[in-house]
Symmetry: D3
Subunit: 150 residues, 6 copies
């Protein structure tokens, strides 16, 4: 059940699944990227900071938001073109996040019949509904079966 570009229109909105961010996520993300900033990895440092304890990398929240399941996963996505985020509030180990997304624009491709560019606005929220990140993602969505026949 792959949804073609033609079925997507501005104003459609979606809510993703949730994931609880754990200390394991933070340690793995530091190891993968090499970002061992004391804000993420040094409990002594953060005990004296405004946050009071280690916080997740902003990019970890960003990365998670691109993997959380939602109806958007059923689109005939062919490429991830652009992403942007503003990091608004911290995510701590133990927080459970999900995103809310709305189609801002669905513009037919000039070069590929049936396909189009979809711009999504999104917010990542924690278990209290607080927006921790907000931004946009731009996707190339194909025409599905019809597009392939075209």
């Amino acid at each position: 059940m792959t949804i073609p570009f033609s079925a997507i229109e501005a104003g459609q909105s979606f809510v993703s699944a949730r994931v609880t961010v754990t200390e394991t996520h933070i340690v793995l993300f530091a190891g993968l990227t090499g970002d061992f900033n004391p804000l993420h990895m040094d409990a002594e440092f953060t005990a004296g900071s405004d946050f009071g304890r280690r916080i997740a990398h902003g990019m970890l929240g960003h990365a998670l938001s691109t993997g959380l399941r939602s109806p958007i996963d059923d689109w005939a996505i062919e490429a991830f073109l652009e992403t942007r985020r503003r990091f608004v509030a911290p995510v701590f180990a133990g927080d459970t996040v999900h995103y809310q997304a709305t189609v801002l624009e669905a513009r037919p491709s000039r070069s590929r019949e049936g396909a189009g560019i979809v711009r999504i606005g999104m917010s990542l929220r924690n278990q209290q509904g607080v927006v921790v990140q907000e931004g946009e993602d731009v996707l190339l969505v194909g025409g599905g079966v019809e597009g392939e026949l075209a």
Copy 2:
């Protein structure tokens, strides 16, 4: 040796360390985020795609670019405020990437003496010098020791 905001100015540019992206990075990133898209995880699917083999998640390249060591790590960074990327070309397992960055703007904070907002333009490049991603990061940089005394 922490570099305060006052020492940063537009036009300064930097080159990061490099990292070779491996199959391990891709499998770990899929597992961390839940993004098991066949472009990243299904060699049968990609054998028939334009790419011919699995590609790294765009967000993996993005995440790596925020962890690669560079002189920017010595800045008195207090917060990562914004990030954006355009995904221009694929990264394959075995590619070695680094980034090149230039300070686009360094604007004093209105509320915090000595601190300021730094906007960086960057490109992520592979071992052939091909730009695979380009974008901007916005950081809050503190005043260093003098700033703290102020």
Copy 3:
């Protein structure tokens, strides 16, 4: 879109997504379980074995088969009750596996109105269509929204 027990019946069949099993999967699975059998971890040993190279843990294939996405993920699954597998052929790093499943039995719960027990027969197959594992899984599926109102 959660599918209640009432919509499931014997004979329905499904094909899962695929995943390419990598050396990373094998090393991570050994580390998680503590199973460092030379068949999986010692290339010198396996060079002289019938297989000629390291093979994935049978339990790794089994575990992967419970995570691969398929329409079964949309069922209102409440519990995983039983599983069994016969390990029929080896899985090597680089193989791409998926499963094919058929509902063998869908039996209403005696104690919970709307819910039922679903028994699935499955085979795990590699990129050549060779069956590498076969077995059964038994799930408790809820009544969905109607069931909750009952």
Copy 4:
């Protein structure tokens, strides 16, 4: 010290080493398999469930039970043929599990002199002695040195 099939007989029983299942195990297992079911990964969801908190994947307990060290590791195991489990009770992060196993049947191979098929009954138990899983594993055990000379 490899124990040949000839030394194995029905009624022999064994106790494995123990392992404490952690949040790390759960996050890694989800990532490896792609099973991000909210029962395992969403603390908000499970706070309202019968369990009250995230539970480990049943297949994680199953996988761990095949890696925990026991005297069975000293057998001249040549292949893991079959496995089955019933998931009886939940495993939570922080639980410490081990298995108890008894040889149910040791049947000489018809085709390979000295080798045989061993069927083991097992239960996985937590730190309170509660059985959380029970099932059977079937192994092919070789003849050891004598068998190799035969």
Copy 5:
């Protein structure tokens, strides 16, 4: 900014960054090395031990001490020649460690002009300043740019 051997002399001392050792580190290190000793992995066993809870592998602390960032990272290190540690006190999940190091000896290489052998004495300390490990590392440091021209 790579520091050549000629700039290193006995008596120089350094303090590293800190890292909080987590349960994740312990589980990953056990998986990587295969060391599932109950002191590290079995909370029931350690509840009855002198320590009262699981401790990190001594080798995990040792390994971390070779990765923690310090000014030594800026040396023109060409090879890690020798290492030794005495394990003096336990490291628990939640402890935050760093090392303090002093150059004990800086001896010019007999065979490579500009290069030399540097012997470092070090202690790994926890958040209370308690020495948990002490030892020495021996490095081969190059001559930097001048050395390369020589």
Copy 6:
């Protein structure tokens, strides 16, 4: 079957199990420790080095040598007291290593009846028998059951 100190004497020697070191081991070890030295992580850099390709961290080989199974695992080990290694030759991804160990000294404890200090000499070797590391480990071994009764 736990071997007490009284059964250990100088001259006893042991051979461990083997493990094939993979790219996965190197990436995970870098991530765990934070050691992203280009010798381990940058294929462009190493293509121009004497080694010609990435090498495993010396400390990774060291860490693996403390986890590889051997008859020493059956000793009543109570503590790991000291370790030292000389890094003699590189380990590459794909190499299969094991260690050979000999008891150099077994000295009764002055304070604990039945227990003693055991000093082991070891060499880590690759699949060609080349010694890649050599060193010593010092262990505290208990008196086993008899010791506990004493």
